[in-house]
């Protein structure tokens, strides 16, 4: 990437040396501290992708609130969807402070999202046709998200690190809720077990894609690691995910649709078949099976909620 004028000037800035020394000492960067432009941009990109994913992540499960099989499950799915939207609220606030020099607020972030200009995780572009999908999403998609998010607990950006503590605690409960649905189906009738296997088959490839391609060689990534914005590579996180969940899936007597999947006993690393990274790129660039439909739904809620936001922005409006 070509260096901008700002970056060239910053490279000679004595504040940059002090900034890097602070990170080296393990200090956290706060919203009103000086930071290089590129640090701000990268943090903002990471944090906005997370916030957008929380909002979009509520949609596939939201479809199931009215159809959950029992009242208990209905309450649990409802509470989870509420948590995810709550996570987005917390994260957009952190993003607003970072985006302050650009004069951007959450209204702009959501406008970008519903216009298809913003990134969110690939998994939220796929359909959830059965109740087993709801279990697999809460167990494995939230499980994958928890691998990523807990790796970020040590991020150098203080405000993000602090809210992640709370978010991870709630994600851990989502996971238990998902695991419980999955175990119920696994211990159920043949039809229930077939439904669960179907959902595992559907979600396996999107889950492998979730962490992103393995070979990250961009200078952006190198800087993100040096500045401790991110602490683990995509492949490290994917390996962690596989180690945590494949033995459980196998232990339940179920399979994943990859005959090439095996753990190399010598290295402890998981080998898997190429999961078609072209599909990943298509999906994250906005061409997933349900990307357009889900964004349209999000746009509708955004428009229909506009009067509420406007009313709330007027502090002394008559009741």
């Amino acid at each position: 990437m070509a260096q901008t004028e700002v970056e060239r000037t910053e490279a000679e800035d004595p504040r940059l040396r002090e900034f890097e020394a602070r990170i080296e000492r393990g200090e956290k960067i706060e919203a009103d501290d000086w930071m290089p432009e590129e640090y701000r941009r990268q943090c903002l990109r990471l944090i906005l992708t997370h916030a957008n994913s929380e909002i979009m992540g509520a949609l596939p499960e939201g479809e199931w609130i009215t159809r959950a099989p029992t009242l208990h499950r209905k309450l649990a799915v409802l509470a989870k969807v509420q948590d995810e939207i709550g996570h987005a609220q917390l994260i957009y606030r952190v993003a607003e402070d970072l985006a302050q020099p650009y004069g951007k607020t959450r209204e702009d972030f959501i406008e970008d999202l519903v216009a298809g200009r913003a990134k969110f995780h690939n998994v939220f572009s796929y359909p959830a046709p059965t109740w087993a999908d709801v279990g697999v999403i809460a167990w494995l998609v939230d499980g994958a998200a928890l691998v990523t998010q807990s790796s970020l607990l040590e991020t150098s950006y203080g405000p993000y690190a602090r809210i992640l503590k709370r978010i991870c605690a709630e994600e851990a409960i989502h996971l238990k809720h998902g695991e419980d649905i999955v175990l119920t189906l696994a211990g159920g009738t043949e039809a229930q077990r077939a439904m669960l296997q179907g959902a595992l088959d559907r979600w396996w490839r999107p889950l492998l894609h979730f962490f992103g391609p393995p070979d990250e060689v961009s200078p952006n990534t190198a800087r993100a690691m040096r500045w401790r914005i991110r602490l683990k590579s995509n492949e490290e996180m994917r390996q962690q995910f596989l180690s945590r969940y494949v033995p459980k899936i196998w232990g339940m007597g179920f399979t994943v649709p990859d005959p090439g999947l095996r753990r190399d006993e010598a290295t402890g690393r998981w080998e898997y078949s190429d999961p078609d990274w072209d599909e990943f790129w298509r999906v994250v660039k906005g061409d997933g099976p349900l990307t357009a439909k889900r964004l349209a739904l999000r746009r509708l809620s955004h428009e229909e909620g506009r009067w509420v936001r406007e009313a709330l922005a007027r502090p002394k409006a008559a009741a």
Partner: protein
């Protein structure tokens, strides 16, 4: 005119600012100086915040009663899922029984 300022202190970089007490001062700057004297004299803080108490909206006793924790909320909490352990055990027992039945039927 003197007024009460609430004081929040951060123990280490990256930690949240926690409420540590209050001071009485004529303005915000003096409140900050007092807070440093009162709270950071011995204990170590890396950062302090002061805010006038009148700017803090607190939970009133009536509000506290309105925060409803009366219904069954186990589905929101980790311990509500202890049953998963039972489900996991039952599933393993079932798999063992199925395997035994297969082995018994084979010869």
């Amino acid at each position: 005119m003197l007024e009460v300022y609430e004081v929040f202190g951060q123990k280490a970089s990256g930690e949240p600012h926690m409420h540590v007490g209050s001071v009485l001062a004529g303005d915000r700057e003096l409140a900050y100086v007092l807070a440093k004297e009162c709270f950071a004299r011995r204990e170590e803080y890396v950062s302090l915040w002061v805010v006038a108490r009148r700017h803090v909206r607190k939970t009133s006793p009536e509000d506290a009663q309105m925060i409803p924790h009366t219904t069954d909320r186990r589905y929101r909490l980790g311990e509500g899922y202890r049953i998963s352990v039972e489900r996991w055990r039952a599933l393993q027992a079932r798999r063992r029984a199925e395997a035994a039945a297969r082995d018994g039927a084979e010869p």
